[in-house]
Point group: C2
Chain length 386, copies 2
């Protein structure tokens, strides 16, 4: 991609109200644009990052045997009334007269499954989608970390037995750990309360960050955490940590299935309600969390797996066309007629893993520098293509 053609360009100044690093840097870099409080357009660069995150999540979900699909966003009131959440979750749910906007999909997925579920032979069912979620957030701050509208992967699993449920719950937990590792994050598996989802405890995946709005207590022996909201305060050795929640998994038992009549005929011929769980990761929040962790005072430092481009090629003195054509699709080529200083500053702000410079001075060689290092190497194109 030629930077001269990319919409839009970087901005010198962060929004006046921006406090969080992800807010400042993603807006300045042209990754996101605010439509209104808590509502963001993913600009072409931001979309590339989210698409890479999405693909990583997809691969790990598919590896658990889950099947991708897509459920609607406008939900009939009646389905939400079956569980009582039309009223109990009214504060977070945007509601029209007869419809609610999806803030999660437990009711809708159960309504779907009960139409297609007959016997234990149909179980387990593991289905997920990537879709928009809406939440009526009074406090939509923190850049892209907390929004009225955001992207989320939500997986739902249904099982014939408690044993099969917990086996898969653990499998998803491991898949989540792989996902977070692949995007460069160290997460702390944390026990927490279930909010509008469940009275049971749940597991959150938290990333330590001074800018995080959650407080968790971490057991130094196991490395696992307990969310402040359920921390008993007796565990003296636990370390208090500010953190950002990047994923959560919920066990519902048969609570929702019983309310909604999601039954199957088991081997013994009796009708039983299914065991049910849900598992979420917000892709846009994850992008924000990655920026909170990986930045310096000059800009973003993307982990390679989610960088919008691997290479940021700076062409000076009209050079760079040849190298650009040889490098394929994974390169952002700054072919603009602006100063070297401006190009270098933009490369640091945008944060692609490897900056390449071609100029009168570099001759046949290419100057290469990693975004997270000061060391500069002169290499030739052949070794780069290897």
């Amino acid at each position: 991609m030629r930077y001269s053609q990319l919409f839009p360009k970087t901005k010198r100044d962060a929004p006046k109200d921006a406090v969080a690093a992800n807010h400042k840097l993603l807006v300045r870099g042209g990754y996101i644009d605010q439509l209104m409080a808590g509502s963001w357009t993913l600009l072409p660069l931001g979309w590339r990052v989210v698409a890479k995150i999405t693909q990583i999540i997809r691969e790990e979900m598919n590896a658990t045997g889950a099947q991708e699909m897509l459920m609607p966003l406008l939900h009939p009131k009646e389905v939400w009334e079956e569980t009582g959440r039309w009223e109990s979750a009214a504060e977070v749910m945007y509601q029209l007269d007869n419809f609610g906007l999806a803030f999660t999909h437990e009711e809708v997925v159960l309504d779907l499954v009960r139409k297609h579920l007959e016997s234990y032979l149909d179980l387990p069912i593991k289905i997920y989608h990537f879709s928009t979620k809406f939440r009526n957030e009074a406090r939509a701050t923190g850049g892209i970390l907390r929004g009225r509208e955001f992207l989320m992967k939500d997986l739902y699993s249904l099982h014939a037995s408690e044993e099969d449920f917990w086996k898969y719950y653990e499998e998803v937990k491991q898949a989540y750990l792989k996902i977070f590792k692949r995007v460069g994050l160290d997460v702390i598996v944390t026990e927490a309360a279930g909010g509008v989802f469940t009275g049971n405890h749940t597991h959150e995946f938290q990333v330590a960050a001074s800018s995080g709005e959650d407080v968790i207590y971490v057991d130094p022996k196991t490395g696992t955490g307990i969310n402040k909201e359920i921390f008993a305060g007796e565990e003296k050795d636990y370390k208090k940590v500010q953190a950002i929640e990047v994923g959560n998994i919920f066990s519902f038992g048969t609570y929702y299935s019983e309310k909604m009549g999601v039954d199957f005929t088991d081997k013994d011929g009796t009708k039983k309600p299914v065991w049910f769980g849900s598992y979420g990761i917000g892709q846009t929040r994850l992008m924000g969390a990655i920026v909170e962790i990986f930045h310096d005072d000059k800009g973003i430092i993307w982990p390679g797996s989610v960088a919008p481009f691997k290479y940021h090629l700076v062409g000076l003195n009209g050079k760079g066309e040849d190298v650009y054509k040889k490098l394929g699709d994974d390169v952002l080529f700054d072919d603009r007629d602006v100063s070297a200083g401006e190009k270098f500053a933009d490369a640091d702000l945008l944060g692609c893993p490897i900056r390449l410079v071609v100029s009168d001075k570099t001759g046949d060689k290419i100057e290469a520098k990693r975004r997270d290092s000061e060391a500069i190497k002169l290499i030739d194109i052949a070794s780069l293509l290897d």
Copy 2:
């Protein structure tokens, strides 16, 4: 994918209210499931088809130099008031007190662009997204052809001059023709009225189908059409055709830009409003239209480019595992313990391009049959992998 594990299975009966072929066959095949009138879950098979359609559209959009991004669905009332459409389009737009749900994105994309547009050097801008659209449809019938909620690709282009605008408009028209060709459809480029979008005439892409709800008049000399809504009735030789609209492109001139103050500084130093157009293809409607065209009394007959799987492998007498493992990801393997008749009927209903059968009778060979032919061939696995 093993059919035994796929959610959900085929159904013997179509919904009682189903009239359209796409409604009957997509529901029976387990491609889609109705949440409420005009609102559909894309089940795993349906999602695979839509994902293939999406990728074809993406490739052709990118080939025009357009950049993918993602805009929000919940829109602030104020932006829609700037063009007067908060009121004039109230009938089709779901509205909360201060927000409207996206039925299109002209206002929102112009609000975005005016924040980032300074000079003619920033133009043209060609940006698109795949996203959900909501339309308050009193008459949500025809299966997945007309919904309250559906998926759509919308592209927006902004230009410094009328000349540049029409050049790109023509380029998108050609890209659309490529897309429809790739998904197997013959389209008729048709002049039409602009509805809630514009007072100008627009171009629709129509597919002749007896089940279509549009009526167009086709010029036998040029093969182009005129929608009934603007047909003058004098052109005697024109042929009346029932058709399904699968795409449309709109030229707005500077109408919206002037209303919303989307200006740029031109070469001569003067401020000018941008030339603006939008270009839509509904991916879910396209899936429905393909089924309307490509089916027989047994089921769907997918064009290869959008089929959920290339191969439908029927295993009989416990056979087929070896072949399944060799064929890679593009195969649906019916490994269930049900009758051959049921498996063959499901293969016809689901409509993958090539049915393979492995049984006691086929020995070392595989029986291969195209969905759109009665001829059966015995082939070996090596020639299949070539």
